[in-house]
């Protein structure tokens, strides 16, 4: 008789298996629904497009170039596009992150490399110049100020997003 205690009857076996399988099926249907419902909460909060570029400590009042990479998808070819930013702090402590892409034809501008015009951004291609805050110097080829990156500071790190054209200065 003691053997019989542990023996599972056909009815019990079917009950267990059907509940089990049914449970999985129900879970399979409910999970996506729950995911949809809670999706905004589950999303990574670290801002999908912001990239960590530098430690805030490294930023001084002198523009410094930081290189970083952004994932891009071109047709079916996924790659990392190298980008750079000129970053500095104003006297008030505000961080400015400028895109180095010259507004004329897209060369990369450099800081303080033209001896005749110190403390300006200089484009080696057609000698375009910009003030420290990115404003284009009239009389040089560029017609607009340098773009500024959207940025945020989190845990002592500087995150950069998209470079946005600045309103007419």
């Amino acid at each position: 008789m003691s053997d019989n205690k542990h023996r599972v009857t056909r009815r019990q076996f079917l009950n267990y298996t059907l509940t089990g399988v049914g449970g999985f099926m129900a879970a399979g249907m409910l999970m996506p629904m729950l995911r949809f419902a809670f999706d905004p909460i589950l999303k990574d909060e670290a801002g999908t497009e912001m990239v960590a570029v530098a430690d805030v400590k490294e930023i001084t009042t002198e523009p410094k170039r930081f290189d970083f990479k952004v994932k891009v998808k071109d047709a079916w070819y996924e790659s990392e596009e190298p980008k750079s930013a000129w970053v500095y702090k104003t006297d008030k402590g505000e961080i400015i992150a400028l895109s180095p892409i010259c507004k004329h034809l897209g060369c990369t501008v450099d800081w303080n490399t033209d001896k005749e015009h110190p403390n300006q951004f200089f484009c080696p291609c057609h000698y375009g110049r910009y003030e420290k805050d990115g404003t284009n110097v009239p009389g040089t080829p560029p017609q607009a100020p340098l773009d500024r990156y959207e940025y945020k500071v989190k845990d002592g790190k500087l995150y950069l997003g998209k470079a946005k054209p600045r309103k007419e200065a």
Partner: protein
């Protein structure tokens, strides 16, 4: 400028400003020496792409001039001279070549050839590779900007 639809459209609008062509000279081979040439070509490609990115508005990075490493030199020189003439006729006042093939350093246009030594890229760490490309790019940039000032 790169050889893409978008860039060529921009080139056609702004061709007065784009007066410099950079032409990679790319030797290929199979069997002996293939790996070395491939590594060299890879590095030349990386550096040329980076230079293009920085001087986009004045420099046109041409698709490579490709040849088999054992092609007769005289024919190659002739073919390259033809390419050079065509580019000059198109208004490219400054024309430079970049290659990992030492043989080009002896030709007529040797002072326009920027030579990049072969490095076994495939056995290098990512950060070291990065550093190498950055340094070599900076040197080539200095060379180009210097020549612009002279010519």
């Amino acid at each position: 400028m790169k050889w893409t639809g978008e860039d060529v459209a921009l080139y056609e609008r702004e061709r007065d400003y784009i007066d410099t062509a950079l032409l990679p000279l790319l030797p290929v081979a199979f069997g002996q020496g293939a790996k070395r040439l491939a590594s060299g070509g890879e590095l030349v490609g990386l550096i040329a792409a980076e230079v293009e990115r920085q001087l986009k508005g004045r420099l046109f990075l041409m698709p490579s001039f490709v040849y088999f490493a054992d092609e007769p030199r005289a024919l190659l020189t002739e073919r390259l001279a033809d390419w050079t003439n065509r580019l000059r006729r198109e208004g490219m006042k400054h024309l430079f070549y970049v290659t990992c093939d030492r043989a080009w350093q002896e030709g007529e246009e040797a002072d326009r050839v920027w030579f990049i030594p072969v490095v076994p890229l495939e056995s290098m760490g990512e950060s070291y590779k990065h550093e190498l490309v950055r340094e070599q790019t900076a040197e080539l940039l200095r060379f180009l900007i210097g020549r612009w000032a002279q010519e």
